[in-house]
Symmetry: C2
Subunit: 81 residues, 2 copies
């Protein structure tokens, strides 16, 4: 069974308020040496045993459904064949 | 500069409605051989140059701030030292 991970992150020039909020909360945990926090999505897709063109299909899913290409970029990695 | 990635996913026994919604939309893209989709968070943390105990601090951040240990599990990976 092919397992694919798609990571979707905001492009670096796009403000990430959720990451900023986490960064702002770190001193309360006693953590003072973090420069930046960025938060995105991790999507785990499991294909059927006999699926073909798994990477290509994953790119279609990521591009058309998971990521907004205006503000987000994504990476596709095949974890197990 | 140390870069740490924390992946936070719902535990496998917890229902993931967002993943189910994506799974349900796939046939419209012509993708019919996906067995499951799970959606979680990917958090990229950049530490200052001279930060110490980066992995330990990342585990504290993940455990106390990023993940809800009742329903979520997390993994911490150091990407660059």
């Amino acid at each position: 069974m092919a397992r694919v991970v798609v990571d979707v992150m905001l492009k670096s020039e796009i403000l990430d308020p959720q990451g900023e909020a986490v960064l702002g909360a770190l001193p309360r945990l006693g953590v003072n040496d973090v420069a930046s926090v960025r938060i995105g999505k991790r999507v785990e897709i499991e294909f059927d045993q006999n699926a073909q063109n798994v990477e290509e299909q994953s790119r279609v899913i990521a591009d058309q459904l998971l990521a907004n290409p205006v503000i987000e970029s994504f990476t596709v990695s095949i974890e197990a064949a």
